[in-house]
Symmetry: C2
Subunit: 646 residues, 2 copies
């Protein structure tokens, strides 16, 4: 059976806009049409954040269709009102609204999270997007810069920025609230999408935002609050706010996560999920998609009928086989092995404390959390605080294991990690979602700088395991054997193939494993994603009569020199494939190692890595974009070897 | 004429402790004796933060001499009360108190900011110090970790942490206030040293902390407030706070910056400085030292007399020539050239906006601030907010120039810098206080990781100029010619020699300058500090008949290959001297460049850099410690060349 994914075309929005009806009825209608389109694009992309897309969508619809001057002035006018989302997770809804106004062209809109389409989080290369976001807490600061620039340049227009509620746990929010009020940058409207659920738990359970209105007030802001799904109240409240000129302004909008699809709505969904909210990220399965889509379309058609209008005309975006089996349902995930190993270790190592910054499920921490609730610290979206808390625990002789996505942990909390490092108390940092893949969420989530951000800490050992077994052994090594702090980077997506390690494999300091023997050149890689590409390249090269030795080296900044010297063998060229920026990864580590070795000094080291911003798209298209897929590697290797032979 | 720097020995503290007298009178006496010792050690070291040392010293004295159980339990007891300073700038006073109790031995105490003595900011290698600090905002988080560990391990003892007031501008503070309250980590006492002056301006002028008590309250903390120089009130208030068990606790202590020396006290000093406070950092000159020391000693002796005790016996710490001329009074400073160039550019480039995070004087920004107040943004100690604000300005077509110390800017605001980089709007980041020297403030201030923290941003060009002229030209290049974002790193200390560039020197993309010709080997370096050591090495080697070519290469991650190939010439060895970690600096850049060049591939690249945590001490002893002083370089070069010749 086939699944149809359909689009409400722009002309349908025009029809609704041009029909006289009650303004708030029209907004509700448009918002639901945008909901349907957002849902369809997320389903097509296979991922996206529906929960907060739906909670904020009425507000975004209101802004573009009733408040901002963009429709009149145009998106490039210097006096335009500016809106962007600080959290950025809700961008599928934002795109849907931009599409509804003709600002975002169809061919980009329907290709959510694809190269050439739109990004998984806001990116200014997409028409209508005013600022990049997706990592939390930066939006008010950036809005302040935009408002200050308007002031300095004498440009008109108001500045609106949407934040989440969990996002208010980030320290930068409070920095920006203080400075904005002090600097009297009053032309800012902050809209808090207060849906009360962050990732998959209630904000109140994670880190409560008690006295949210008073907090903004005492930081010098003018505060208003209303139902974020009630267009009349939004209209009235935002009008009132725009009259306030002696203070920056915040609207706390009470919203419902997943608003608009009954079973995705906060209270119902929490109940169904036994306290966990299941619709934060990821696309719904085929049945849920069809049920949800039907619910929105039926409501929309009823509204159209009430307004005396014909039902919606939709067009086909894509047809696909229903209930197809996806890689992620069957493949190995290193993060699962990590979670299991962590829980096993927790049973014997009573000094082990696990810290999380609101990504417990993604980071495989739920088993540990359940088994050892007293040694699990859920710290909310406050990475800096989490890392320094770990520092305090380590000073008192406990062993903290600190988890978040690498792009946040290594970067946001970098100075705190450095401060801890100068105390030389052992801490294990786990940078999840390491590397290029999955590439759908885009640059704010892909972690390609984490090795470089830990690299200059003299003692810190950096490891990326290639399969579940190696993950378990690597964690055990870090916990039981390492004398210093360690950073483990872990791929978050299902492994494209399970990397096979030799019978009786033992994780050993500075050493890797030959996965595929070969004489003509050596390719060193690590992690399941890039090892798969390396092995693919080797298989393709073998068909051409070129024999490539593939080595898995999980030690990214340490190497056992005798092992390396022996393993590289006579090959004159060492290719190194990094799932990281071209700067500072394993390639540089081996370049230095070779320079320091009398045996290896005259080898040629060729680095394959990510030389520019990571692209957003499906794994194959993004690997290809950066020329690190198997086929591209073959071409690059042959070019180099050809040069040498020529 | 000679200057005497004297010490009040530990036995004098014992005498006071053992004499029966009013407890608060005794505390006042001890605090002043600690003041005298702190002043003397700062004078001897040549630098230190007296303003906040003096504002917090009564509180620290009270804690150790009347509140904490450390004197009884001992500094290593698991049930001890724990105190540390989050700001850490006030550590000379903390050391003085630890010395007064015999916890910190004399030979370490008198050697403030020296290798083998004590660190310029708190370091746990110093007896009595419980946590490393010096970079702001981390203390409450770390105290939370310590308190949680006490709880998990079943250890007794209270946890106290001191913060500054300006420090409350850091976002991490508010993260930690939210999480601590939510997690009910109630065994924490935060002490705010509310002296109302940060660096050299009033907090109210920088970023006001309006409603400070209400802010803590609304974040779920129990708040008390009292005069931080009134021992009776401190006693009563802290006693009361320790009874509170349902919330974490904060004492806002109203203090006077520079308390205890009349002309250093906030109100007077601000008046004398025409609104700028002159005693935040640095040692007083000889006359101010003598006047201040005399004032404290006279007051102390009067107090002793009132208590029926003999006057103080002090012992000589050091005698030195009075009014000696110091390097810093005469030498070139690249930061001065930077400030001048910035102001010149500001006159023609109306799009240029300068941002500062409360280090305007140190970063040479005062001339610009004065000339263009409307394009100068004083953002307080809120680096993340500053960087994202710059992002907003850049999105609107302005050119932000973002300033702070490199160790803070590159690290604390790393994710914000990355987010801006993904928007590709040009921003110039200036990492001041780059490199190893001055080494007195210690690891929290020495910036040896900044190149690595910017290195993986694909477009960002990293530059460090070697003298004033090159600084001016580098800034002009970044402003007028660069197409992408740039990072300029600048040494903050006076140049040990003025680097001479050729007549008509023109700063050119990817190219450096031969400062000293030579045939036997090549040494590439940058920045005034390391170029001086490189030239010193070259001079010493010349005497031994070894001719070393010294090249200044200000481009740290870009190089003009034909220029490099030609300039290196026939030498088989290229030494690279980094004022940075061994990881990710110019050494790695040139290693990659050589590997990519058919001409240079077989050269040997030897990196000299900082391989471990930066030491704290005087410039000569720290350069020697890390083996990057001229003499050590000679030895290291000869070892390599000997190997080659052998």
């Amino acid at each position: 059976m086939n699944l149809e994914i359909r689009l409400i075309p722009e002309k349908e929005f025009r029809r609704v806009r041009e029909t006289p009806m009650d303004v708030y009825d029209r907004l509700a209608l448009i918002a639901d049409m945008c909901r349907a389109n957002a849902l369809a694009t997320v389903k097509r992309a296979g991922s996206g954040h529906l929960g907060s897309t739906f909670s904020s969508l009425d507000i975004v619809t209101f802004l573009y269709h009733a408040a901002l001057n963009i429709a009149k002035r145009g998106i490039d006018h210097p006096d335009r009102d500016i809106y962007f989302s600080s959290k950025g997770h809700d961008v599928p809804g934002h795109y849907a609204v931009l599409f509804s106004l003709g600002i975002l062209p169809k061919d980009r809109f329907v290709n959510l999270r694809r190269v050439g389409g739109t990004h998984g989080h806001p990116d200014i290369s997409v028409p209508g997007i005013e600022a990049n976001s997706g990592s939390l807490g930066m939006g008010i600061s950036k809005a302040k810069g935009i408002a200050l620039a308007k002031q300095m340049k004498g440009n008109k227009g108001r500045v609106f920025v949407m934040t989440g509620d969990g996002e208010l746990q980030e320290g930068q929010i409070w920095e920006s609230l203080q400075t904005t009020a002090h600097q009297k940058v009053n032309n800012i409207h902050v809209l808090v999408d207060f849906n009360k659920i962050q990732t998959d738990k209630q904000v109140d359970q994670v880190i409560a935002l008690t006295h949210i209105e008073k907090k903004f007030e005492v930081f010098g802001w003018h505060v208003a609050r209303c139902d974020g799904h009630d267009f009349a109240r939004l209209d009235e409240t935002l009008n009132r706010l725009s009259q306030v000129t002696d203070k920056p302004k915040v609207l706390i909008a009470d919203t419902i996560k997943g608003k608009g699809i009954s079973f995705m709505e906060g209270p119902t969904a929490l109940k169904d999920g036994k306290g966990l909210y299941g619709w934060h990220a990821g696309a719904p399965d085929d049945d849920a998609f069809e049920a949800g889509y039907r619910e929105i379309i039926e409501r929309t058609n009823n509204r159209l009928k009430d307004a005396g209008l014909a039902p919606l005309m939709t067009e086909l975006m894509e047809t696909r086989e229903k209930h197809r089996v996806r890689l992620k349902d069957t493949a190995e995930k290193v993060v699962t092995a990590y979670g299991e190993a962590l829980t096993e270790l927790g049973a014997t190592r009573k000094d082990l404390v696990v810290l999380d910054a609101d990504l417990a499920a993604d980071c495989g921490l739920r088993p540990f959390e359940k088994a050892f609730p007293d040694r699990f610290i859920e710290n909310g979206i406050a990475e800096q605080d989490m890392v320094s808390t770990a520092g305090g625990l380590a000073l008192q002789g406990l062993l903290p294991i600190v988890n978040s996505f690498g792009v946040f942990l290594a970067s946001r909390a970098n100075e705190q990690i450095y401060n801890n490092a100068t105390e030389h108390a052992k801490i294990i940092y786990v940078c999840h979602y390491a590397g290029l893949i999955p590439a759908g969420p885009g640059k704010s989530h892909q972690s390609l700088r984490d090795i470089s951000l830990f690299g200059a800490l003299p003692e810190c050992i950096i490891i990326e395991p290639g399969n579940g077994l190696e993950t378990k052994q690597a964690l055990e090594w870090c916990v039981d054997e390492a004398q210093t702090s360690c950073m483990i980077r872990l791929v978050i997506s299902p492994s494209p193939r399970t990397i096979t390690l030799p019978e009786g494999y033992r994780f050993s300091w500075g050493q890797g494993t030959v996965l595929e023997d070969g004489q003509d050149a050596v390719l060193v890689a690590y992690g399941p994603v890039m090892l798969h590409e390396a092995l693919t390249a080797s298989e393709m090269l073998r068909d051409r009569g070129f024999s490539l030795k593939v080595i898995n080296l999980p030690w990214l900044n340490r190497v056992d020199m005798p092992w390396l010297e022996e393993t590289v063998g006579p090959s004159k060229v060492i290719f190194v494939l990094d799932d990281h920026s071209i700067y500072g990864g394993l390639g540089d580590s081996l370049l230095n190692a070779c320079m320091a070795s009398d045996i290896l000094r005259n080898k040629r080291v060729i680095k394959f890595a990510i030389a520019d911003d990571p692209a957003c798209g499906t794994p194959p298209e993004v690997l290809r974009y950066h020329k690190v897929d198997g086929e591209s590697l073959v071409a690059r290797i042959m070019t180099v070897m050809g040069e040498r032979h020529g």
